[in-house]
Subunit: 319 residues, 2 copies
């Protein structure tokens, strides 16, 4: 029996699971905190993988999703603000040496796109744009059955598309990017600004409090008819629509897969999104054979992406 | 001796040439007008190809560049505003039937990117963004040695990236696209607007005249120190820089190849362009191993692209 191990490394926890080649239900699954006193993330990763190692089965490969860009030439995670301890480390070759099994590393958003393509909402498509909208906006692109990586693995940063010169600051420090306008963080900031300006709302907010209003609070207010909260989602939908029109022109995909926490409020901005795309697209042909689909893999998308990477990299054809 | 035939179809003229497989100097070359009374463009194309057919040599394939999107599934040119007579026609299969030789069709800007990659400024690169800035802004993208086409062949329309909400109208009818801000047409329109507003300049312009100021006039004025003309190129350079920062985030290329008439004035906006890219890029890593290069193939880029398509499609490895 051939098996693969998938690992999803996050800023606060790491998850791992082992799978047979004909199934998406794990043989073993485990999760641990990314950091702990007297233990490095690399050592913890090693023991996590050991804990899900299948008994009496051959492991063909290990796929690892990391929250940062992976240099495709060196296999090194280049910048990981959430886990600086792993920055610059050749994680895959370390695991390969530790377990004597081929190991493969990928950026988590790119692998999420791979996962949704192989096992989720992108199944059967060959040209896919995947956006995950939560704290930030991550993305991955499949072009003609290939994951877009770019020369050094930095490509497909669609969240950093410039939409509004002199717009709000993005997490990267540049103004007017999609992420700074339509991420969960951007929505919460905009709502707080409007409340500070005196706009009426049912959302309780203390402007002396530096914390962001939780997305769930804004979503619930919107569902209950709060006008400001509804505007906040529509505003995000407009910016997303403008960016997606760009992505249609650039990639001519057949599906846009939307994931992340904000996508759970899709009904609140779907119409605005689609109308904006229609207004901004250069020709209606780009909308023929094009659909928008919600991501299907939920919290498992990182593991599923790492599994897809491990299977693909070891030459396994998919179920 | 194996040969290929390359054809570049434009709105006013068609060019064709035949080449041996080891050389870029044509065996025969010819050009004719695209239209003439009592003759259809398809018939004229056929006689043009006949006129460059090499004697005593086998033709392995015909590559044809057309000024419109080519449906990659059907091989049909979908929309060609410059040659509406060819819209919807399966040009390649027509030529294939007429000459009993495989024929291949491609969008001219995409094939220009292919030509610059194989024979010009993109040689040796694997990740290339090509922009041709003239009346409009055309583009082509090479990703990991593959030409980006998208699901139906409509992809890589980088000129239609939205940069300025409520900006000037683009040729496609949408506001704020790169093409509407930085093409030769956009530069000429902006200069005319400024003159109409009373801005001083050495450029002679009659605002009752509906014709655009020729690009060469603006370029020469700028070279002679005209402040308005210099501002016009810098303004275009700023918008190009903003868009190119997006393209770096999206594609992580190692080279941007700039072609078209406006690129001949590159010295007038190079510094502004590069400074804007630096300001708008999310991380300096995108600029490592990245260069901007001027296109090398000039007016022959269409033929060279069609030749590259013909050679590649018939499995010829390149010199």
């Amino acid at each position: 029996m051939i098996t693969h191990i998938a690992v999803d490394i996050g800023g606060t926890r790491m998850r791992a699971a082992s799978y047979t080649s004909d199934n998406l239900t794990p043989i073993k699954v485990n999760r641990i905190k990314t950091r702990k006193k007297n233990s490095t993330p690399l050592k913890r990763l090693e023991s996590l993988i050991t804990s899900v190692w299948p008994e009496e089965a051959e492991v063909a490969g290990i796929g690892i999703a990391v929250p940062g860009p992976v240099n495709s030439a060196t296999g090194v995670i280049e910048k990981a603000p959430n886990i600086p301890e792993l920055s610059g480390l050749p994680i895959a070759s370390n695991m390969q040496a530790a377990f004597n099994v081929p190991a493969f590393l990928g950026n988590d958003a790119n692998l999420a796109a791979l996962g949704e393509w192989k096992f989720g909402a992108g199944r059967g498509h060959h040209h896919i744009v995947y956006l995950t909208i939560s704290t930030g906006i991550g993305s991955g692109v499949i072009i003609d059955d290939q994951l877009l990586s770019g020369a050094r693995g930095f490509a497909s940063e669609l969240g950093h598309t410039m939409l509004l010169p002199d717009g709000p600051l993005c997490s990267c420090g540049v103004r007017g990017h999609l992420e700074g306008l339509a991420s969960g963080t951007a929505i919460a900031k905009w709502v707080a600004e409007q409340i500070s300006k005196g706009v009426e709302t049912s959302i309780a907010f203390d402007s002396s409090n530096q914390e962001l209003i939780p997305g769930i609070v804004i979503a619930e207010a919107a569902q209950n008819g709060d006008i400001l909260a509804r505007q906040a989602f529509k505003r995000a939908g407009r910016y997303l629509g403008q960016a997606i029109a760009d992505f249609l022109h650039i990639f001519n995909p057949t599906v846009l897969v939307l994931g992340g926490g904000v996508s759970q409020s899709y009904a609140l901005f779907a119409e605005t999104l689609y109308e904006t795309i229609k207004t901004h697209v250069m020709a209606p042909e780009f909308l023929e054979d094009f659909t928008i689909a919600l991501a299907e893999l939920g919290d498992d998308v990182g593991l599923m992406g790492a599994l897809a990477l491990a299977r693909e990299s070891t030459g396994l054809s998919y179920p």
